[in-house]
Assembly symmetry: C2
Homo-oligomer: 349 residues x 2
């Protein structure tokens, strides 16, 4: 099996190096390769994702990405933004189901903005559609309309098959958990939202066995995540709402430096695994980044793409144990470096 | 001066009745009229907003709306949904700037999900564009595309003049506060977001004197509102992001039953004032609703449309004093009825 590392920009290389150390210990037979993406790829070859890198990603069994972007590449033209490398990779690998867990390690409950009783034991999973919606919809652009007025526009669009495949994943995941899916949209004001709701409702009738389905408007969900996040099991959302709600949910758990994500395509294709956090240019290169999100992204890669649940369990337990023993990077209120934190996790393996 | 009450559905009539009692005391010379909107209007005349009601709203000096919607009207066809009455009113009055404050009464700090130190003293204002964006963009619909695939789609569009007028309001409001505006979009993935950012940046150069402008991606903002809401002064957002972020911000303060909103058009036209909360069908008709959001919406009407800042100050102080004295409805952890809570506020006037 092959794991392709795409360290990317900012703290990306630091945290993927930490994950690589863990991978070499828990899955020594996996071949690890690496390639450039994002700003690093722009610097080397003028595009944020080369065809060759995309091909290598397609041939790998799993892809672990660090983070992309940074002020250095903010001004270049749109197609050459580091983010376009990430979007190109998602679309190119067709990883339509983005799994973003939000769980709270016991040792970190106090780092949360929320009161202990509201967050302790939180364990929810956001399933976000990742390759359609307003992120990719056509037409889009900035131009002048027929009355000579300048405008910017995008199209938010979902087709029935796009909704079906991600909904199936949400149902499947719920069956391995508490069996409850809450589908989120703005069906009261958006046609794509109404269509989403109707389709999910119909799909539930056909293959929703064992799954309890509810619906919530996206604004209400943004609110309920603050009021009582523990009410949720699986949240199913489109690309845009999933983006906002998963960041909000991640932050509930205390630090954005902790949480991983998995992006999955159809069976047999490689998954893309990445921390929820960004490239954090402010602390890049200083050895201060929290490696946990990248290490937990490796955990998801072991579980979802590499078929190694035992190794995944080992990694998950080692992270929890290291945190319990008091190991903490700066974002968690401690003072450990990226390397020291990784050492602490390795000690617990 | 005339204040048009549109009680609407669910708890709407209960909370607007409470606000009316306060209005009669602090502004006895204002003529109060009322009309139907939402489900109540559907029941009476088969549409959620009659032309006659819209005309009366246009001729009033301010419009105070309770809430619209409820399970009773969930199945009717789209144009006859109660929500369409609200959207029709916003569009018809052309109230493009929706002001949603999020402040936390000292007496309610403990009701918040957030730890005391993160929320105490919170005072931010969200300025949300209210009459454009994906809520109204064309084309939109549910149909079958050229390949025979069913789909739902919407258009997210902003023109330069639409961005300009709401940005001017945000700058103006910031000048009366701490002078900081944070403009929120997804310029990294949306063309309308990129256009929004470019326009706001240019407008700031032309008439942003005394205002410090920053930009934040919407997902980061959803996260920062949880991490450290006190960092914000004024948040400027489009219709859709403003919808989610203002609900999230409102809930930070402990109860969605507390917060008001003002929707303003150009100078000299009536503003539309409404609680942020919905029609709460589960407690409707039981006298349990918290009247504070409606009373504080009246406070905003007195301040922004009726030119009575002194009366507004009186109302604001009475609400704070009543809360301080321990008056609380059920949503705040107390046991007062709507009427008892209103009495307590009147006692403090
Ligand atoms: C970097 C950006 C394009 C991306 C997104 O909006 O999807 C990020 O916010 C994420 O959630 O992974
Ligand atoms: C009722 C609904 C149409 C409305 C909206 O989405 O704007 C509501 O959520 C609000 O924020 O006032």
């Amino acid at each position: 099996q092959t794991l392709l590392l795409l360290p990317g920009d900012g703290i990306g290389p630091e945290v993927t190096a930490a994950a690589q150390r863990i991978a070499e210990l828990v899955a020594p037979d996996v071949t690890i390769e690496s390639a450039l993406v994002g700003g690093a790829a722009i610097d080397a070859s003028d595009v944020p994702l080369t065809d060759e890198t995309l091909d290598r990603a397609k041939r790998a069994d799993a892809v672990l990405l660090g983070a992309v972007g940074g002020p250095k590449w903010a001004d270049v033209d749109r197609d050459k933004r580091p983010e376009m490398g990430l979007l190109g990779l998602r679309k190119g690998l067709d990883v339509f189901a983005n799994l973003r867990p939000a769980y709270c390690f016991e040792a970190l409950v106090d780092a949360s903005s929320l009161k202990r009783e509201r967050i302790e034991g939180l364990d929810l999973m956001i399933v976000r559609e990742l390759t359609s919606g307003v992120y990719f919809g056509q037409p889009r652009g900035i131009d002048t309309d027929e009355n000579g007025v300048r405008r910017g526009y995008d199209t938010s669009v979902y087709t029935a098959p796009e909704i079906e495949r991600v909904t199936r994943v949400a149902f499947e995941i719920a069956r391995g958990r508490d069996g409850r899916v809450c589908s989120v949209e703005k069906s009261n004001v958006m046609e794509s939202g109404l269509f989403w709701r109707q389709e999910v409702t119909a799909l539930h009738k056909t293959f929703g066995e064992g799954v309890e389905l509810s619906h919530m408007l996206a604004d209400a969900c943004a609110m309920e995540l603050v009021r009582n996040p523990k009410q949720f099991d699986v949240i199913l959302a489109d690309n845009l709402f999933g983006d906002l709600l998963s960041d909000e949910a991640a932050m509930l758990t205390g630090s954005i430096g902790m949480l991983p994500s998995a992006s999955l395509g159809i069976e047999g294709t490689p998954g893309l695994f990445e921390p929820v956090h960004g490239s954090a240019p402010d602390i890049a290169g200083q050895g201060l980044a929290n490696p946990c999100a990248a290490i937990l992204s490796l955990e998801m890669a072991l579980r979802w793409s590499l078929g190694r649940p035992d190794a995944a369990d080992r990694v998950m337990k080692a992270v929890a144990d290291a945190l319990k023993s008091g190991a903490k990077t700066r974002d968690l209120g401690g003072d450990m470096s990226t390397t020291a934190m990784t050492d602490a996790i390795i000690d617990c393996l």
